[in-house]
Chain length 209, copies 4
């Protein structure tokens, strides 16, 4: 009876799968993993609860898949090497902008990873949030190290500097999202970033009086 419905059977299935992941991510991020029920997800996705188990092994599998698929395609600071040739100022500006873009685009997953970090601690080896964080700091650190070697900035622990800069931006973003919500005191992130870059650059530059 159903005619011409299945232009591509796997197409519809794939769309369903993606939507389930999307809905799950949103709900997990908004309400927390434990406070989100399978029923919530199914209802929001317009699907029955049972069907969810055709696409995923269970609730935990949903979470794991979300983290894997959401983050792997575009790890933070992946294209950072290309900026070794830029002037310091512009390079740091790109790094900051890149990080901010990432935070904005992956707001939900970042919030989730922080709130529910403990849920990933089982696969201790492949705890993805941890890896992302460490790799990103290493890349950023490597970039700074080169500049130190070129004598452009002061000699300091480069990874600590990276954590300092990134942490500042991440904290600003998350506090704005998590704590302040939509408050009048909101400040545009770009405004903050500009100030941060300014201070950071002044702070690390070689400044022989």
């Amino acid at each position: 009876m159903a005619i011409q419905r299945e232009t591509s059977r796997s197409g519809k299935a794939e769309r369903r799968r993606k939507e389930l992941l999307q809905v799950s991510l949103r709900l997990f991020s908004e309400n927390g993993y434990d406070a989100t029920s399978i029923r919530d997800i199914a209802r929001e996705a317009g699907v029955t609860e049972g069907l969810l188990y055709h696409y995923f092994k269970g609730k935990k599998d949903l979470l794991k898949t979300i983290v894997q698929e959401s983050v792997c395609d575009g790890v933070v600071f992946e294209q950072l090497d290309q900026i070794d040739l830029l002037p310091m100022e512009e390079a740091v500006c790109r790094i900051g902008t890149h990080l901010l873009e990432n935070l904005k685009n992956k707001k939900e997953i970042f919030k989730l990873m922080l709130s529910e970090a403990r849920l990933f601690e089982e696969d201790n080896d492949h705890f993805i949030p941890k890896l992302i964080y460490q790799n990103s700091m290493l890349r950023f650190g490597a970039f700074l190290k080169k500049r130190m070697e070129r004598g452009e900035i002061r000699e300091m622990d480069p990874v600590l500097l990276a954590r300092q800069f990134s942490g500042s931006l991440v904290a600003f973003f998350l506090f704005q999202e998590i704590l302040l919500g939509k408050t009048v005191t909101d400040v545009p992130a770009e405004h903050f970033l500009k100030c941060l870059i300014d201070v950071f650059l002044h702070g690390i530059r070689k400044c022989e009086q």
Copy 2:
């Protein structure tokens, strides 16, 4: 009616109450609010579940009480005014140290407040974590503003600077706690703080070329 409170009976009761709060805070912080059951708390405290409801109205009340009693006696940056007379370097150092101490002492509650921020959103007026954050940043900002007026540092949005400095430290601390856990890559927070202060001071000082 009776005012005496320290008889052996009410003393024990008070101790119980405190222990319940303490155990709850630890479990909430470790496993998350939703993932911690009343049974867990009662078991850990060596108490029947029912008794918990003699001391608290319910699970939510437990959380609310924790936040109120844990935080209110010592808001962050409360004694900050006293340092207006110190040299800039030492002042910032004190601020940083104070914040770090706070983070260390109230590690559990800070982690909880960030992870489960959504749980407090109901009492929109008295959302304590938000208030603490805002007040702290205002105090820190006010301190910086005075220094600007004295011409000791550059003119910039003082609250943004405060958020920048604090966010960096908080992010470092929480990431270490939440993401990295007890990893070999751990860096002593004091080390990080020293570096942060260094860069920050350089970054904001008035640097007449």
Copy 3:
């Protein structure tokens, strides 16, 4: 989506639902709402407690559904208009018989509604027992009014007369059910009704000395 409803699966479901309602009504009526536990109902229906929540939102929903579905299909005195043409004697007899039938058939629900009236007071607008009572009295009253206008009976407040007649029968029936239980002193309701009609007709007839 699918409109067919009578497959063997959904058929069984519907039967289950009905049985749950039936069992609930019986237990609520026998033991009272508060004294009947969900477990009691589930056990009696041969079902797990959890399943009950697949069919109903909760205990209160069970009660609400019972009242709605039990009563709405056949409001008391609904077919009363058709008797305006009958001789007074037979008309009142039919009314009484109709009411008695109703009391017998819906014994459980009537007992429940009276015993647990307070449970319905929330939906103040649609408090069904109240509406049923009021509507029934209005219909009965309208019938009597016509007879007064035709000069067949004395002029009195028709609704009060209706309440007088009905209340007498209801009280008899419920007392027999509630207070006396299965006692030897039981009197057949039909016997009482005959006496009631007799006195009532004599009492309201126009009796020109």
Copy 4:
């Protein structure tokens, strides 16, 4: 230390006991037996829960005591014999008024007895509500029987007549209390009673056309 507090130790105790009974009756009547907790009663009476068990054996004992003490001092229709000499009209009027007074004064206990009748079924022999009802109807019936023997009214089953008259009034009163609450449609009970007496007297009188 406590001076001159105990004018009569048992006086205070007795007052407490009475108040506990009074509060219990009110709450049981308003919310039902099962829905009223010991804590509710204690709180409302300004007493701790534990103390309640010095005065009563438990919740059930409270209920039993309420029924016994509330009703025994002034059973319905107790002074009815004195009216055998009155004219029929006035006699019935007194009976009705007496019943109505009783209903008004003991509103709470009557409502409770009807709602929670099942709670008394254990002492099957001394089920007080049942006894009261039966005794009252017997007395009323005896009164009517005498009038029949004197030829003042028609020959009918006197107890049935008593139940008819009383049931009507009781039903009116309880429906007004339970179902209608404080509604605009309320009718003064005295109004109803007058109508009831009128019809009843007409209905039972010997009326040879």
